[in-house]
Subunit: 155 residues, 2 copies
């Protein structure tokens, strides 16, 4: 496994630019250049049944995938915006405790192809799966398509 | 169109039982027995681009569908829990201002079939589409399957 990178600045920027993040109970964000994880507390994310609110899981999953791609693009010369185009969520089991939302970037060849297309055309798509497991059982899965777009310069 | 019902008690209960609701900028909830709408402010829901955060839209859409079914079941003798089983979101256009998340219950025959199955078997599924439009253009759509389950009695 690759070493976790210091993403303090990224987290601060995330919290500053998306107000809802402050209310999703994120305790720690981790990124090793391939895997991105968010540890979140159940308390601010519970539903009427005391388990994790589906909307908290889907919002956290959106951010998890978005963050993985945004961090991947930090080393690019150009600036890019990352947006989610579509997503599918499956809720298999209730999440009954603090949880970890995690995704893994595609294999290096696919990442290289994504970056090449992005540099050439200014736009490229990446599919990511985000999961939440509890005691080895899959509780939640999001499969989503993200698009990175070259940021427009306002002159 | 049917008259809007007073759902103050429902809204208070929703806010009390799902903490994230307090941070989703909901201004008004409306239900006429068929259509359920949530007016939400953009300010607490913006993303890094100043438009609506995808996670806010999906969380609000989850609640919109969940609320429509929960309110439908209020007049039933039995108590039921409503959960989302799976959902699909499509993000067509950025939402650039305060927005309205809206869904409509299926036609009466399908609602009757859902209620009959629920009373007989203690479990039934309903598919709902939730949309956000801006100036007549569809910006966001969630198609989701919800399941209602007879609430267990803890003796």
């Amino acid at each position: 496994m690759l070493p976790w990178r210091d993403i303090t600045a990224f987290e601060q920027n995330l919290r500053a630019s998306i107000p809802l993040v402050e209310h999703l109970g994120f305790r720690q964000l981790r990124y090793d250049g391939c895997r991105f994880e968010i540890d979140a507390a159940l308390a601010p994310n519970h539903n009427d049944k005391g388990t994790a609110f589906a909307g908290s899981l889907s919002a956290s999953a959106n951010l998890c995938g978005w963050s993985a791609i945004t961090l991947l693009l930090e080393s690019e010369e150009q600036a890019y915006d990352v947006v989610i185009r579509d997503g599918r969520q499956e809720y298999f089991l209730p999440v009954t405790r603090d949880f970890c939302v995690a995704t893994v970037l595609p294999e290096p060849e696919l990442v290289d192809r994504f970056l090449l297309k992005l540099r050439e055309r200014g736009k490229a798509r990446m599919d990511l799966v985000v999961e939440v497991q509890e005691q080895g059982q899959l509780c939640f899965r999001q499969s989503a398509a993200y698009v990175a777009l070259r940021r427009k310069r306002w002159v």
